[in-house]
């Protein structure tokens, strides 16, 4: 499922809700679309066990029933872990960090040493184009176990993509990474508390 884009995921949920017989709130306009917002849409090629989305539902249904029903109809590879009622217009402001698990092949040095650098300058995409940016403040913690890197980085308004982190590790350590797969494992608030409540 990691190759399904954000837009395709929104469409998929729309169709799933329709099959499940749950009425979704639709956007107004010429091309009504289901109302669905992701806290931080994940890039193509990255798998995730922790996503947060706001879905507009146009009927009375308990969060528990909604989760159960959706899971009955979602294609393999998608699962609702938990649901709750949310009335805030933008409920994702608490999102501050994301946790990634990056499994690499090739030679990998201890990536934590990059935090000893005074700064980590990387070409980072910003609203006004690609800019050399110090990404050190965006990295909260990083450690390695065997060939697996665990990293907690900024997510949300300020955001660090895991691809850029891997590039930084390659640039600043004596690593030669051949290939890697990335999984998002948690979305956290500023106190590192998991935003998804089970």
């Amino acid at each position: 499922m990691k190759y399904v884009s954000h837009l395709d995921t929104v469409r998929l949920f729309g169709r799933t809700m329709r099959r499940a017989g749950i009425t979704m709130s639709m956007s107004q306009g010429f091309n009504p679309r289901p109302i669905m917002t992701f806290a931080n849409p994940i890039g193509i090629g990255i798998s995730s066990t922790s996503e947060l989305a706001l879905i507009g539902v146009d009927e009375e249904i308990s969060p528990r029933d909604l989760a159960i029903t959706l899971n009955e109809y979602l294609p393999d590879g998608f699962k609702v872990l938990a649901a709750k009622k949310e009335f805030a217009k933008s409920p994702f402001t608490a999102l501050t960090f994301a946790q990634y698990k990056i499994t690499v092949t090739g030679d990998i040095a201890n990536p934590a040493v990059i935090l000893d650098m005074p700064e980590i300058i990387m070409p980072k995409k910003t609203k006004s184009g690609v800019k050399d940016t110090d990404i050190k403040p965006f990295i909260r913690s990083i450690f390695i176990e065997g060939q697996t890197i665990y990293a907690t980085v900024r997510c949300g308004e300020t955001n660090l993509k895991p691809e850029l982190l891997v590039e930084a590790i390659e640039k600043y350590t004596a690593s030669h990474i051949e290939e890697y797969t990335t999984e998002r494992t948690a979305l956290l608030d500023e106190n590192l508390k998991d935003l998804i409540e089970f």
């Binding site: 190759y3 395709d8 169709r15 329709r18 099959r19 639709m26 193509i44 294609p75 590879g77």
Partner: protein, 606 residues
């Protein structure tokens, strides 16, 4: 290693979509249903959906889907040594029992070769041995199978639902018996609709035309009759359709109202090869619609056929479907409407949920030309339809035309520009003083006529590229209004399409050369290279112009080995009527005697 991280739109290659079918890898018959174009195009094809779900009902058979990987994926697959695989199992298709291609357009032929190549299957039928897959093909282009005769072990002519079950039954027993490849082909050669090209010798006259087809063995039929489904209500139709993760070209439920067409436009191959007209009942269609809506969750349903407004029970059907779709907030699309029976009521139904775009196909600019092609619509019909559309709030319509038609004069060509101008005038007349008048848009799309087998125009000379270019420019010079958006294409592709649509089996060499020279995705502008194609012809010592020439009625045609049900006499009569600018009434007004009477369910009015 995962090559999917390195390619664009990787969701094309993963499988696992809703309603896709996964079976045990030990299933007796493994079948790769191949569409020789990319996922987004192939997944939009109704025939594949019908056969995929229909044949997968068999316990002994697992049908999987295979599409042409885009060039980036082909490169990665070659680098990583990954052969072409079935989307469901990811197993290499060279280990499958059948590798079947659907032939929807001639310009996909090179993709067949690149897919076989990528699969590691010998390209030439003659090079395949015991244990290799059987490569076969069906679909509309299979009505002239000859250009692909060197590559396919057999062809299926006509509608696939029943014939495939017969072929699979024979195969299952043949596999148990452990007989030879030849023996299997021999056994299926007796099934109506199966054409085994290697069982025929073809001889040629000194002028290069075909002399005759001779069956090599006593068990081979002289001509191969197409297969048709007689009862559309009892034949399988999928109650589930695969819902792709990624957006495809026709991303909606397709509900097939009927096959065949009552009209008999003389350029239209579909109008003849899919005869006779056979409709599904409104009851069956409503039932299917409900089931498909529930199983897919799609937000749009499209009523498909060759000419939707000719469905006899359309009023009742659309009313009942609207009850279903409006309650579930589903859009209903009605493509393929004709200008002579387009009504305000019908228009309201299309727009009741969402406004779809409106397309009309007058096909020709002058009444004379429309009579020649037997389109049987008038300028008044068109004006009435666009008036209804503009009055109903539409601001843009699309108009489809063709140039290069038989007997065409420059006046006929300029008529396309004039007719488009008249539509624009009608728009201003109706919207005068109205708000947003500037939003009006008329799209005039002009394509180049390609003579097709099994049409009254199968003997016609095809226009050359300079002739077509001149006509295109004439239209351009005669369009004055800025509101008209004039679309046309360089005609290189049409000319090549004409060669392969009416080609013989000597063209196999050209295809092979073109493949070796790197031709593929010829239907895509960014890949099509006319010069390379000309090189492929030259290397084979074949002049492409030979295939564009006019033929005489008594010439043996390469597709005479196929019997499409409509008689040659009928085609000749129709062709002569075209020259005399005489029209033929539609099948409901009066039976024209095409040769299918007895199998045909059309009732004449009055």
């Amino acid at each position: 290693m995962n090559i999917l991280n390195k390619v664009q739109k990787a969701a094309r290659y993963t499988g696992g979509e809703l309603n896709s079918i996964v079976k045990d890898k030990d299933t007796k018959i493994r079948f790769a249903f191949c569409f020789p174009d990319v996922y987004e195009v192939g997944m939009s094809h109704l025939g594949m959906k019908i056969l995929y779900h229909g044949l997968n009902k068999r316990e002994d058979t697992w049908v999987e889907r295979v599409f042409a990987p885009w060039v980036d994926m082909q490169d990665e697959m070659k680098k990583a040594g990954v052969p072409l695989y079935g989307l469901e199992s990811k197993d290499p298709i060279k280990d499958f029992d059948f590798v079947g291609f659907t032939l929807q357009y001639e310009m996909s032929y090179t993709n067949i070769l690149s897919m076989l190549d990528l699969a590691g299957i010998p390209l030439l039928s003659a090079d395949r041995g015991e244990g290799d897959s059987f490569v076969c093909a069906g679909g509309p282009c299979a009505y002239n199978p000859e250009p692909l005769a060197d590559f396919c072990d057999f062809f299926l002519i006509g509608e696939g639902e029943e014939i495939w079950n017969e072929v699979l039954d024979v195969y299952s027993k043949w596999k148990d018996d452990g007989l030879s490849r030849f023996e299997f082909l021999k056994q299926i050669a007796g099934i109506e609709g199966i054409y085994v090209p290697s069982f025929y010798d073809v001889s040629y006259n000194d002028d290069g035309t075909v002399k005759e087809y001779t069956p090599k063995y006593g068990f081979v039929p002289k001509t191969v009759k197409k297969r048709i489904i007689e009862d559309m209500d009892s034949v399988d139709y999928p109650e589930e359709m695969i819902v792709p993760f990624t957006e495809i070209v026709h991303d909606r439920i397709m509900l097939e109202l009927f096959r065949g067409c009552i009209r008999g436009c003389r350029f239209c191959q579909a109008g003849f090869i899919y005869r006779p007209v056979r409709e599904r009942s409104a009851d069956r269609l409503c039932d299917l619609a409900c089931k498909l809506i529930d199983s897919t969750g799609y937000e749009e349903i499209s009523l498909t056929s060759l000419s939707t407004s000719d469905y006899t029970d359309l009023e009742n059907l659309t009313n009942r479907l609207l009850d279903i779709t409006s309650e579930k907030k589903i859009n209903m699309a009605l493509p393929s409407l004709r200008v002579d029976n387009f009504s305000a009521g019908l228009m309201q139904k299309i727009q009741s949920v969402r406004k779809s775009s409106l397309t009309f196909a007058p096909e020709a600019g002058s009444q004379r030309m429309r009579d020649v092609i037997n389109k049987n619509v008038t300028e008044e019909d068109l004006m009435r339809s666009v008036s209804i559309a503009f009055e109903g709030g539409w601001t843009s319509v699309k108009l489809y035309f063709m140039i290069g038609l038989p007997t065409e004069t420059i006046d006929d060509v300029i008529g396309i520009a004039k007719l488009s101008e008249s539509v624009a005038d009608k728009y201003y007349e109706i919207k005068k003083g109205g708000k947003g008048i500037g939003r009006g848009r008329i799209t005039t799309s002009v394509s180049s006529f390609v003579p097709k087998p099994f049409t009254p125009f199968q003997w016609e000379r095809q226009n050359t590229i300079p002739e077509l270019r001149e006509k295109q420019m004439h239209i351009k010079d005669n369009i004055k209004t800025r509101m008209i958006n004039y679309n046309y294409h360089e005609s290189y592709v049409s000319v090549l399409e004409g060669v392969f649509s009416r080609g013989d089996r000597r063209l196999g060499k050209v295809l092979l050369n073109a493949h070796k020279l790197g031709c593929q995705f010829d239907g895509w502008d960014e890949f099509f290279d006319y010069d390379v194609w000309m090189q492929a012809f030259e290397q084979a010592g074949i002049d492409s112009a030979f295939y564009a020439r006019a033929r005489s009625f008594d010439e043996v045609l390469p597709w005479d080995v196929i019997d499409c049900g409509v008689t040659k006499k009928f085609f000749i009569d129709e062709c002569k009527k075209a020259y005399n600018e005489k029209t033929t009434p539609n099948c409901r007004e009066k039976c024209a005697g095409c040769g299918l009477m007895g199998k045909c369910g059309v009732k004449q009015n009055g």
